[in-house]
Amino acid sequence: MFVIETQHLQKQFGNKLAVADLTLTVNSGEVFGFLGPNGAGKSTSIKMLLGLVKPSAGNCWVLGLPPGNVQARRKIGFLPEHFRFHDWLTGREFLHFHGRLYGMSGQALKQRIETLLARVALLEAGDRKLQQYSKGMLQRIGLAMALLNHPQIVFLDEPTSGLDPLGRLLVRDIITEIRNEGTTVFLNSHLLSEIEVTCNRVVFLKRGNVVREINLKDNEIHINELELKLGPVDDSILQGLAQFGSNAHRDGDLIRMNIQDEASLPQLARWLVGQGCEIYRLAAHHPSLEQLFVETMTEENKLTIDG
């Protein structure tokens, strides 16, 4: 069963089309990356799923229920994009208040708050007012708030914005941890290298449309570039390499070429050795998510759905 499903979701603010036509599904237990350039409609889509914003057209369901359903909300956590809260509360009071809103109380809530404060490395700052928190600390206490109720789904809208490398690592670990506990994560981020590590599947959103979907865990991104460092070779070797791929060319003292997949690599190596070449390095790369992102976003009106 899908934990999130949308059909032709659309949102219009006045005459500004924020989300054009969003159709997607998210499976239970998945870490789902929702990517797109600024203003693509990512936050607006999340807000529609949470019932913060009313769709202009289309339908969506979260945990099989319409957005904003109070029963569904018990099982949802949300870290908003511009995380702001009643900053006259201390960290502990803040979590306590939100816990109460989830219907938690007493010792169980206290216990949960301490666990989470420890998890986001804010145990010591727990009794300080949020006013005195740095941006990264606010982001982390917000994450703790989103996890208070052991949610089945968490929506994280740019959870790592404003975090230092250690903070990002911490968030990444937490995401991995809750995924292992079976929580579905709907992740919205511009840090593609992180998405690459944590997500099972990503979609690219462009002007409110899904323009590409990629399964990251099924090796769906094919290896396509080969980097060679060889002893001195002449151009005949370059021509000979053409049988294994395309566009072989020199790049400083390296040779680069495009290949289809890994399968041809052993053969290629044997051939090079046979030609008397000295091989110092043979490295195959697949394109980074960032390359794919740039490629997708710059191709005008391209509409491909992979996988």
Binding site: L52, V53, P80, F83, H86, H98, L101
Partner: protein
């Protein structure tokens, strides 16, 4: 079902509690209490000296029924002047205290993490309303009680019908508070403040037009007053309350801010109650439907 509504109440109280807490933490309440206390002190000292003068006079001339009556009028005037000022203070407090509560949270986005919780939006509005109503009712009762009490203790003069006037003034406070909360669902904080004070000003000037119209026997002017009272009943409530607290024998020609040549109809009370409820319902409806 019972369980459900119990849970709903609990949510509302959680929000109300937070609201109360916020007023405490942000020292808004402290400022209001300090100012209110100062106000009562000044008022008390004032009565002390005035009362002293009255007693001196009484010692010089023989007591008479006329003397006693004019003293009563003086005390009444004093108490009414105090309440008139308190009325302004309460209008201001009831407007300003909640003016930011929804608009501020909407514009900062802090409302988002609240609204996605298993809470209905109506519970958020009602919870905030409850929190502020709790604060304002206590504050208003203390201020009004303070004035009346000071006068009673120092001069042994009891303001008539305070048991009727007090609830009317509390209703006026609630009405302004509700309007301020409701405005916050649509307007930015500044606009909301301008809106509520503007409404109050409208009712205020309408009330005066009505009074003067009544004095001159001009029906059109009186109608203007009635219409503005329907649009915003705050001033009519004050006049009604003031009317109940007038001593007998005050002349109809004696036009003061506290006396009325034209007394608002008691039906105005029903209208004010309805007005407050409708405003609250509209606030809930608009807040429940809007994008956040």
């Amino acid at each position: 079902m019972i369980n459900g509504s119990f849970a709903a109440l609990k949510m509302m109280f959680t929000i109300a509690h937070l609201t109360f807490h916020e007023a405490l933490r942000k020292r808004v309440l402290l400022a209001a209490i300090v100012l209110g206390a100062l106000f009562l002190i000044v008022f008390g000292v004032g009565i002390y000296f005035i009362n002293d003068a009255v007693i001196q006079q009484e010692l010089r001339s023989a007591p008479s029924a006329i003397r006693a009556q004019s003293n009563r009028l003086a005390y009444n005037f004093l108490a009414m002047a105090g309440l008139y000022t308190v009325n302004f203070l309460l209008v201001m407090m009831a407007t300003l205290l909640p003016v930011d509560t929804l608009s501020g949270e909407i514009s900062s986005g802090s409302i988002q993490s609240l609204v996605v919780k298993p809470v209905r939006r109506s519970q958020i509005v009602l919870g905030k309303w409850l929190g502020f109503a709790f604060i304002m009712l206590i504050y208003a009762s203390c201020m009004i009680g303070g004035i009346v009490g000071l006068v009673a203790i120092m001069t042994s003069y009891d303001l008539p019908n305070i048991h009727i006037a007090l609830p009317i003034m509390l209703l006026e406070t609630l009405l302004l508070l509700t309007l301020s909360i409701a405005g916050g669902t649509r307007f930015t904080t500044l606009t909301n403040g301008v809106f509520v004070f503007g409404m109050f000003g409208l009712a205020f000037i309408g009330g005066w037009v009505e009074q003067v119209g009544g004095l001159l026997g001009n029906q059109a002017a009186q109608n203007i007053g009635v219409i503005t009272s329907l649009i915003m009943p705050s001033e009519a409530l004050w006049r009604l309350a003031a009317h109940y607290m007038q001593p007998d024998g005050i002349s109809a020609l004696n036009i003061t801010p506290f006396s009325s040549t034209i007394v608002p109809s008691p039906n105005m009370l029903l209208w004010a109650i309805g007005y407050t409820l409708i405003t609250l319902l509209l606030a809930i409806r608009h807040f429940s439907q809007r994008d956040l």
